[in-house]
Structures are given as C-alpha cells and as structure tokens.
Subunit: 423 residues, 2 copies
C-alpha cells in the first residue's frame, strides 16, 4: 500500500497533467445520471467513480459502510463516519486505482459499471449545509475596501487584526456550479435622489472565496482550539459569494449584508479533502500585533492554492481577470474555527465556512470586480472588446483553483455561474 498522497503514484486511468483530479486528489462529490439516483462519487481524471456501485460489488467490504451512505443526496452521512473511516476509504480507492492493482483494472464488467465520464453525469450540491458563515479574512481585500469607502490612512477597522471578522450568511441559496440564477432585484438609494428605488441591481459582483466544510460536530458550549481545529475540517470547495454592491451599500448598516448576498452563492461540486491538501501547507502573513492566546497557532497553516477568475460573455471567449492565491489569507481556517466556537457556538457536519474575498497584494490578484475595476473607475477590458465595471446579464463567471508541486496538481474543478436577466 502506497499512501494516497504519494507524488509517485500513478493510476491505470489516464490523467492529463493539467487535470485537477489525479490519483493523489480523489475529491468526493454527489452525482446522478439519467438512469441512476443521486450517489457519492470520486473524481479521477475526466471520470467519476461510482462508490455506490463499488460498495455493492464488495470492493469496500472491509470498511463495512452501509449502502445508504453511498446512495444519498449529500455527503453528510459519509462525512459523519469520521475522518479515520473516510481516510481509509480514500486510501482504498487510491489502491484500487493504482496502476499496479488489478482488482478493478482487470474487471471489465465492474469497471464499466463504476466509471462514467464526468461530462455525462449531473453534479449536484455535495453537502446539505446547515449553517453558513462568511469570514472577511484577507488583509489585502479588507484594506482595499477600507481605502475605497473609508480612510486610506486607517483602512482597517480597529478590530480587524485582533479577530477574524465574520458574519452569518444564508445556507438555502448556496448552489452548485452550473446553476444559473436571476440578477437580484432590491432597494437601492442612488446618490442623486432623496428616496430609495426598487429594481434590478446595477452593480452585481463576484467574490473569490474558498469554503471549508465541517466534518465533526460539537455540542453547545464546547470550544475548539487552533491545534484541534483540523480534526473538524473535512475538506474545501471554491466559493463565489455573489454580491449586489448597490443593494449592500443601502441595507448593510448597522447589522451587515443581507439581501445583497443571499440571492445566490456558487460552489464547486467536488469537496477536496483537507488530507489531500496537507502537502501544500505554507506560511501566512506575520500577524502583528500578536493575537490573543486562543488564536495563537504553530506550524504552517495557510495553503498554497492558486486561484483564478474568468468572465465568459454570452458570445465570445473567456477572459481571465484575476490570479490570486489562498495563501494570502491573514487569518487561517484554524483560527476562524477557534474563534467561531470560542463562545460555545455549536457546529454541525456540513456547515460551511467561507474565507471572505481572497485578494493578493497586487491589482491583478484582487478577488472582486469592486477592487479589480476599483469602484468602477478602472473598467476591465475583455477579449471581445467590451469592458466591465461589474457583471453583465448573461455573463458567466468561472472560478478555478489548484495546488501544484512535484508535477502533482490537486484541483477543485470549477465554480461556474451564469447571471440571467432579472424578470
């Protein structure tokens, strides 16, 4: 048995070097086909491995997992088996896909039942999200916003460097990549009129984020230390926190964003396990002033995930408008989770916690149109000759992300969403 993360591993399934899903990744998702109900799958190359089929055929007999865990609308029941079992399952899948392993490779009938091209299946929401929290943990993003809307000399509010600012978001409107949605309507207050008006948002934006998914619950009153936090994180997805800036500006005082955000948030369909990402840990920003003891942590806790955003207009080709990286987070996931539970707030399997917009230090790495086009003052040119201050009707926004080291690329696939005109 070679460990599932080993860079030397090769699968008997051919995987293109630019593919997000080599044998070292093995992300979990939920899919269905025209002939089958929703079930758990794992991405390998351009194919999906049907875990319900493999379980039924006895390939996971040693793990003793019930059929209902795999024939399921969500990953929550699988995740609830715990990290040791999920890790053993991932290792078993790695073994089965290993080029030297004949068990599945040489069983044509089983192979044909268990493997399908991703392009032939429908990918569904991977988890049932109980509660969704959004943080605001990129220092470059917070500085940009503070500079634009407040004071460049005091861009960060007094609390920002002392705690990972966060707020609750809407779980019901988190949708999986490929789900189109309507441009939201809402109240806005144009500067040149006395009273607010109601209509379609005129400044629809994306926010480039990552989200982590809770893998282990706590009870009310329980806390999680930064050292223990990784035990509670199952994996990550890309996250587009769609935002209507004009609605936000008018509604958000004093209790925060609400309808400016809760019309849709798009995630990538594959949950990449934290385990698969461990080789890509890296150091983050130095935290000055020193944080309070409950937020201290040791070791490298950022993750080097290259991120990009492209706009695809109704006609024409994609223009990549942002190159960023998850390593630019000032606050780590472990700190976010320690903070979130420091008051005893309980968490559940499937809860989603997003990073906040991930901007880097340079203009090309800013994670929102607000920052990229600097409040509309620097419109972005697209390949088709048009330009954008915000997102137009029928534009598709595509987020992608991957880690890369020693020719191993661990990616997330796409978080893709198209904005349809308001009704």
């Amino acid at each position: 048995m070679i460990k599932a993360n080993d860079p030397s591993l090769k699968s008997w399934i051919e995987v293109n070097p630019n593919c997000d899903f080599p044998i070292q990744n093995l992300p979990f998702g939920i899919f269905k086909t025209q002939s089958s109900s929703a079930r758990v799958g794992v991405a390998i190359g351009d194919q999906v491995l049907d875990l319900a089929v493999l379980n039924k055929l006895g390939y996971f007999n040693n793990l003793k997992i019930g059929e209902a865990v795999f024939v399921n609308n969500f990953l929550n029941d699988l995740i609830a088996l715990g990290k040791p079992t999920c890790s053993a399952l991932r290792q078993r899948i790695s073994d089965l896909l290993n080029e030297t392993n004949a068990e599945l490779r040489d069983n044509k009938e089983a192979r044909e039942k268990a493997l399908q091209y991703i392009s032939n299946v429908q990918l569904l929401m991977p988890v049932k999200v109980g509660d969704y929290t959004d943080f605001y943990s990129s220092i470059d993003h917070a500085t940009n916003v503070g500079t634009m809307f407040r004071d460049p000399a005091n861009a960060l509010l007094p609390n920002w460097k002392h705690l990972p600012v966060g707020y609750h978001g809407r779980a019901s409107s988190i949708i999986v990549s490929g789900t189109n949605f309507l441009r939201p309507k809402g109240q806005t207050k144009p500067a040149d009129v006395d009273s607010p008006v109601f209509g379609a948002s005129k400044s629809l934006d994306f926010e480039l984020e990552m989200a982590f998914i809770i893998g282990k619950p706590t009870s009310l009153g329980e806390t999680i230390s930064t050292a223990a936090a990784d035990d509670y994180i199952f994996g990550l997805t890309l996250f587009n926190d769609w935002s209507a800036r004009d609605i936000q500006t008018w509604e958000y005082v004093p209790l925060g964003p609400f309808l400016a955000k809760n019309f849709a948030s798009t995630i990538s369909p594959w949950v990449v396990t934290l385990e698969a990402l461990e080789p890509f840990r890296t150091a983050g920003y130095e935290q000055t002033p020193k944080v309070l003891p409950y937020l201290e942590y040791t070791g490298n806790k950022n993750i080097d995930i290259y991120l990009e955003v492209a706009i695809l207009p109704e006609t024409g080709t994609e223009t990549t408008i942002c190159h960023s990286n998850y390593k630019y987070m000032y606050w780590t996931m472990e700190q976010q989770l320690a903070h979130h539970t420091s008051n005893g707030c309980n968490i559940n399997i499937g809860d989603m916690m997003a990073s906040g917009t991930i901007s880097g230090p340079t203009p090309g790495s800013f994670g929102s149109m607000l920052e990229l086009a600097w409040k509309g003052t620097k419109p972005l040119p697209l390949n088709d000759g048009t330009e954008r201050k915000f997102i137009n009707d029928n534009d598709t926004v595509i987020m992608r992300g991957y880690c890369q080291k020693e020719k191993v690329r661990i990616g997330f696939g796409e978080a893709r969403g198209k904005v349809l005109p308001a009704l």
Copy 2:
C-alpha cells in the same frame, strides 16, 4: 362542527382561565417521555395530546397521514403536508376535544393513552431550523439604541423606515425553553485599555422577540408578495435573542453581530398557528414615509400579543421587569417576508424569522436590559433586594406571551433559559 377559533367552544378537558392552551389554541409541539420516543403533541390545558397515539387509534383516518409524520423529532414533516391538511387536523382535534363530542371523551382507554400532563413529559425543539433570520423591526427599540449609541436627533439610520432591516443568525444554537447554557466568553475591548481581552461577557442581555416559522417553501428566484405572505407562515413562538453586549460592541463593525448572538437563542416549545392568532390582528404604526410598492399591504397585519419578561434569581422569586406587546412592531411579518424574498432568496419549511427586540413606547415596555437599565445608568431593582444592569450568573430569564379577547386566551407558554457561569 364548530370552527376551531370559535370563542364559545368548550372542551371536556378542564382549562383554567389563566391557561395559555384552551381549545381555541391547540399549538403543536414535540415531546417525549421516559417510555416513548419523540412525537407530535398538541397542548390542551395542562395536558398534551399525543397525536401519534390518536393517529394509530384511527381518530385521524379521514386525513390519511402516515405514522412517521407524528413519530418524529420535528414538526417539519407535518408542516410540509400544507396548510389545508394542518388546518383540517387542528379542526379534527378541536372536534375531538369539544365537550359535546364523546369519541375520545368517553373512551377511557384511548384517553389514558393519548393524554399526559405536560409536567410529566419533556418538551423538545419543535422544528428543525434550516436558516434563521433576525429582523430589527421595532421602531421604539431602534430609536432607543440609536439614541444611546449615536445621535438622539437622528436615532434611526436613513434606511430604517424604508426597509425592514434584517440579518442572518445562527440556526444551530437555537434551543428550546428549559435548556440552560454557559455565559459566553469572547473578545471585548474595555475603554480603558489599548488592546482587547478575552473572557466571560460582562454584559449579557436578553432580547424579547417573537419568531415566525416558514410553512411553505419557495424556489430560488421566486418572490412572495405581502398579500400572499400569510400562506407561507405556519405559526409563531416566543424568541429570546440572548446577546453579549460587550462582545457585540467590539466585533460588529462592519459586518454585523456574530459571536455576540450565536451562543444561544431560546424559543418557547409550542408553535401557535397563525390561524389561531387571526382573531387578534390589529393595526400597526402608520408608516411614514410611504413604503415602496413591494412593501405595501392592506388590512390589519399586526397582532395584539401581550408580552412580558421576568428575572428569577438563583434564590428568591420572579420579578417581572418588562410588559410589552407584539403590536408595537413597525414592520409586519408580511413585509418582512416580502422583503426577504424580493431578491429571489429561497425559503424552506422550518426556517425561522425573528422580529428583533420588541420595545413599546414607554420605559416599562422596553424589550432588553440595555434599554430597561438604559446602558447601565438605571439599574433595575428585583424583589429580592438586588438590582440588575444586565443578567447575572444563575439568573433565569422567562418570557411569556398571550392574546386575550372575549375570555379566550391564546398563549405561547414560556421561553425560559438559565445562564450558568462561564467555565
């Protein structure tokens, strides 16, 4: 058949005139006993009617409801049957309890199986809450807070009279009456030091609120008009939005309250149907300036629910410190729901939407310690000779509420929570 709301109805079960649960109420809840699993019950007088037992005995045969709906940890599956079915069920229960109906009254064996004293059962969380939203819709409360922390001359922020300000809260930490919890710890920034500190909150407060529960889902992109909103509201509970003021002050800019709120919210165990509350509709405040068309409504949409809050110290007796009323809401539930969905945000059965602190126009009607003790400047005397600026360790806060007309009292029971010392 006499309609379930008829004030002339009497039950063969004796109901004290000061009891919240006469035959005209029939609120739904979830309970269990030492010998039975969680199930749906209806309160009548000081007893609970076991709907699982009645269904099994054939009393609901005409309604054709499966056993799993009644033997259930939550009301969601019952609510999902729709208002016509739930209304027919309530009517059938009313008929069965009517003093002139012998079906259950004269069947000693069935009666003994189906009825238990509330004091002998454990009341559980009535619904599985998907998303929880908190509004800020009491004009007296918003004016008090604005006066205290901003400018008495401009107490309301510019958006306040144009839209029902709301924000997302934490669903996981909503707990049922009788569940104790720990005083939260968190970061605060005392005025006299340069850096924040971490420790137990020193200004723990309650917020007197009502919450309504969604009874019918929408899809992403769908909107609900104020005229249609009542079809989507199943019923209401009391709601205590516990708040740690010192944590809130430091954390809440710019994205709103987070850890100051999500350590616990206490609800009453019985869901009083909107149907039972209809006779108590009343006019609300006049809304000036005129609201935008999507927020206009006709008819009386406030509800006259008397509300009170008492503090019970570890030793001693209760002191009632607040007398308020749900009719003081500036924004109605119907407006809140129309606003919430105006951008296409989808809602699900079991979602909870709370009112925000309900304060009336006079000091004795203020719905939080912050307002009652006016930021600590006017400590409240208790019966035991002590006084309170905020809530002490081992204090129990008890909220109660009821409508009353023509000798019919439709009440909510209690939302009771005890604050244990921080660990």
